[in-house]
Symmetry: C2
Subunit: 625 residues, 2 copies
């Protein structure tokens, strides 16, 4: 049996294999956040012709069923099929390569006063060949030379002896060493014959729950040679960290999740290496940052205790590991530095973000927020740092929202509702593109606008009769944001409730941090917004929604992907790695799950903008108008 | 086709497989030092019946050929065979287990002032379980506990994180750690759930060129639980280190040689573990000593530069390695300490021997000699140590001598020649055993006696007519030491020349050391004789031969296998390991191969006892009688 795609591509199917399974095997990935259980409704495809057995699903509208939509994970071919994959169902691996930011980040590095001082250095040695009067052993000869160059404390792991005699003699006693700077000593991590100083790269990796970004960095001058990114293939097993931990436990699938992310990183590395003609041996070191769960899974560590009270990770600070023991495809002796985490729900990505924001060097009080798949907030200054993780959930990335999607091509990212006609005007990411869903910033805009125009009340309930766009949908009342040819894009009441819960959690996070430290929002000098989500965020709308505090817009600053920025800094500088360790060490984590006052704050936030409207003076005056 | 042994055992043979090959495949090993080239003549067997193709060999006498002897490596069955393996051809794997020496060695350890302080220790920890108010990570919890116990500087290799969460929780936060003491820090080498302190063993290994000895040591009280030994299976590839290095180079067979010795050690370990019901995890560490070549091959390091001017080993001092990377079958994380070597031909076995002799702590001048397969001599006191390696060759172990053999059952170890009848009286190792060859001490006795009785002259030439036992043999004139039923045991003129060359090299070694340091033999307080060879040595005869200096017998002391003794000491004590490193560091190696005065001394020694008879006053007066 075969499945034929519109491109003409034929995909073979084994009996009893779902369409999703067959596509996956052929390298065509569909979006999915329920691991093939048929409950998320994301893997919709269209059957153009051919016999298929399919289970019914509440996730499909009658209209869709009529048009041949089925869930790929719940459908089994019974003969040759011809299908179509709607854009919103396809999980696109970006593989996008774009050079840029090099200058900005290098400037940032220089502004910190740090030099270029990667975790490993290369040393080219020309050893005096042995003679009958200078007949010390090869290892002693090497150590004598290094000692004379000031490397007194030097560890040579046993494995480097195996081929040492050969390597020393291959290019007439000229060798290139890669040396790792550890806390207490130097350690040889690689030995090559001859002079191998020409190319020398570092790899910075940001392991996001959703996206993985890799920078290829020239360790000689700090320039970014290239960037590659892809979705984290673990998405197949769940959208957020909790779902993935549960999946790993229920299917004893830690190894599966681990392999997924390692293989993603390997694909990106291979792409970058090929494009720039860089050999395996030219990569001197890797630096990774991720939230605590992503870090654990990447390293192959069991994340299950992260999920269970009292929420204990295996480690927050990680020893150097080596590419070979992780399965990362570069020279197996290449060392990997892992960003330190703070607690189970505040990870290396946040530490990296704070490092890049420089708030830990600022005397003024700053707030840092990274609302990606998870939500973390840090408050502090050069003296202290406190942090909370808000279980905001991944709804701003589209998860749990009927027509939710990430901020990529086809996403509605801006919604205005005409004050007179109450008709929405939308903006879509991409040029000349039909909308296929709505992303986080689009949802915030939409809800804020719907509230301001009275389409929803402060509890998020749709006001029937206020607009003809309010109708009854499969999951309750819904508001049509866009009438489409194939399908309409709507926000339903459950969608809106989801988003209100998320924004309440975030605002409660801010409040708790300030309260704990005896401050108010007015004491905050800057609010740094990090993460892809922030890119299209309309701060004013987020304030109306009650997600962000009602402060002047000038206080907010969008920083972009600070996790990869901090990782870049640490790939290049020892000073930056020391700062990162300091940040992780001095950051105090407040566990919200047991905080009584967090629950109070959270419940108060389940209104738009807030139960205490006086905390939002500008919104209050806007509403009066 | 089958080969039938007298025991009734049937061994299958493939076409074109030599008898030696077929036997080897079935686990029956024959002695051999030419790797199957047909040149050493050691793998003689007797064809009782059946067709065989065999190449002629000068290594077989007419008598032997008549009796059905063939060289197994040069003979190919052409049908079913019935054969017999003469005792002298069979390579016996001892597998001998004998408890003993425990008290002596423990006393030696105590006499040095050292306590029991192995390279690893076990720590049982009961960690406080985490709670929401004490929610540091697993690794931090472990480090906190160890820090409170004084282990500030602690390295946790990344691999121990992989299963840490699980191990900590398995026995309710009780764990047992194995911790390695390194130069600068502590390092975790193993983690087990629960209390695992009960059994805890160390393994001391002496890798001799000929014999491998393993001690199983209780690390809690220092007692030797058991001893096992076997021939080094590398014997198949050559009797001495040079032959093996050449074999490794010519056949790119380093891995083969390495596997042979590793597999020997594994067999002994497995035997010891089974007999004492000791689990893989109960073995905490290994300590090995061997000469420089044996050490290199055991560790998998290329020994080829040891053989070539300027004779450079890969290393003389070795980083800790781990059982897993060496293929030693205990827990793969078990650390292995390797005795430091001094130079290409003075290895860890000599360092270990000096350590056990305690000469490095003696204010008086001492000489140490270890004449095994190689010959090394050390001169010194508590202030300094100098050493030479004499290329004595392995003839005292039977190699290159027609009827030579090691000092095992069936070897003639004592020869007296009746002053009147000139008939030899012999003593054989073993009870009620027919002689099958002659070992090193037997040869020394025989030559000294033949010299004193005028059967040979001072150049070692047989005096035809002096005895009817002098006859013409296949390799020249020979003296029949024993008339046997199957074969006579003889010493030929080439045998005698071989032995004279060897003894001349040893004596020249002594002389050079003393001369270099400005001493004479009379300044020497003690001469320590180490190695299996010394066990049956008659010092008086060795003096007559001119191998040992003409000093009172009370100055000579036989110490036994000092290499394993020193290895035992280092398995138990940090102080001993430090002393071993000190010995290796302060021992000055004199390269004889380029020494003009060594050649002079050597040539002067090619007479019995010596060109300068005045250096042997007692021999001189004996001869006058």
């Amino acid at each position: 049996m075969n499945i034929t795609l519109p491109s003409g591509k034929n995909i073979p199917v084994q009996p009893d294999m779902s369409i999703q399974g067959a596509l996956k095997k052929a390298g065509v990935h569909l979006t999915s956040s329920c691991a093939g259980k048929g409950t998320c409704g994301k893997c919709k495809i269209i059957i153009k012709s051919g016999p298929v057995d399919t289970h019914s699903s509440t996730k499909l509208t009658r209209e869709e069923i009529k048009k041949g939509h089925v869930l790929a994970c719940q459908s089994f071919p019974r003969g040759d099929l011809s299908i179509e994959i709607p854009k919103e169902s396809e999980l696109v691996v970006e593989g996008k390569i774009a050079v840029g930011k090099a200058k900005d980040l290098l400037d940032l590095l220089h502004s910190t006063g740090a030099g270029i001082d990667p975790i490993t250095e290369r040393k080219i040695l020309n050893l005096p060949p042995p003679s009958i009067t200078d007949n010390i052993s090869d290892l002693e000869r090497l150590k004598r030379e290094l000692f004379s160059k000031g490397l007194g404390c030097l560890r040579v792991p046993f494995r480097f002896l195996i081929n040492l005699a050969n390597i020393l003699r291959k290019k007439n006693w000229e060798i290139t060493l890669t040396i790792l700077h550890t806390e207490d000593c130097y350690e040889i991590t690689n030995i090559f014959p001859g002079n191998k100083k020409t190319t020398r790269c570092g790899i910075a990796v940001d392991i996001g729950t959703t996206t993985i970004v890799v920078y290829l960095i020239d360790l000689n001058d700090g320039s970014i040679l290239d960037i590659a990114s892809t979705y984290n293939s673990q998405i197949k097993f769940g959208d957020d960290v909790i779902t993935r931990i549960v999946y790993a436990e229920e299917h004893t699938a830690l190894k599966t999740l681990n392999k997924a992310v390692i293989s993603d990183v390997n694909s990106l590395l291979s792409l970058l290496r090929k494009n720039h003609n860089i050999s395996l041996d030219s990569i001197d070191n890797l630096v990774i940052a991720g939230n605590t769960t992503m870090t654990h899974i990447f390293l192959g560590l069991d994340p299950s205790n992260i999920r269970e009270d009292p929420y204990i990770p295996t480690a927050n600070s990680f020893p150097i590991s080596y590419a070979g023991e992780l399965g990362v495809k570069v020279n197996p002796n290449t060392p990997l530095y892992t960003f330190p985490c703070v607690a189970s729900y505040v990870g290396g990505d946040v530490v990296s973000g704070v490092l890049a924001s420089r708030m830990h060097k600022n005397k003024e009080l700053c707030l840092f927020m990274d609302i990606g798949t998870n939500g973390e907030i840090v408050l502090g200054n050069s003296e202290w740092l406190v942090t909370v993780a808000c279980s905001a959930g991944p709804c701003f990335e589209g998860s749990g929202i009927n027509h939710g999607m990430r901020a990529t091509e086809g996403a509605i990212e801006d919604v205005r509702i005409n004050r007179d006609t109450l008709e929405p005007e939308i903006e879509v990411i991409g040029e000349d593109v039909q909308p296929i869903g709505i992303c986080g910033s689009g949802m915030i805009d939409a809800i804020a606008e719907m509230f301001v125009t009275g389409i929803i009340d402060s509890k998020g309930k749709l006001q029937k009769g206020r607009s003809k766009r309010i109708r009854k949908g499969d999951s309750g009342p819904e508001f049509v944001i866009h009438y489409g040819e194939n399908r309409d894009i709507v926000l339903s009441e459950p969608d809106i409730e989801n988003l209100i819960r998320a924004k309440a959690a975030i605002y409660a996070g801010f409040s708790i941090l300030l309260k704990e430290m005896g401050y108010t929002f007015n004491d905050v000098h800057k609010i740094y917004i990090a993460g892809g989500f922030g890119k299209f965020l309309d701060v004013e709308k987020a304030i109306i929604l009650g997600m962000l505090p009602d402060l002047p817009e000038g206080k907010f600053k969008y920083l972009g992907n600070t996790s990869i920025a901090g990782t870049y800094l640490c790939t290049l500088s020892q000073k930056m790695r020391e700062e990162a360790e300091d940040i992780a060490e001095k950051m105090t984590y407040i566990e919200l799950s047991v905080s009584r006052s967090f629950m109070d704050e959270y419940v108060s936030g389940l209104f738009i903008p807030h139960t205490n409207i006086d905390a939002f003076p500008n919104v209050k005056s806007l509403l009066k108008k």
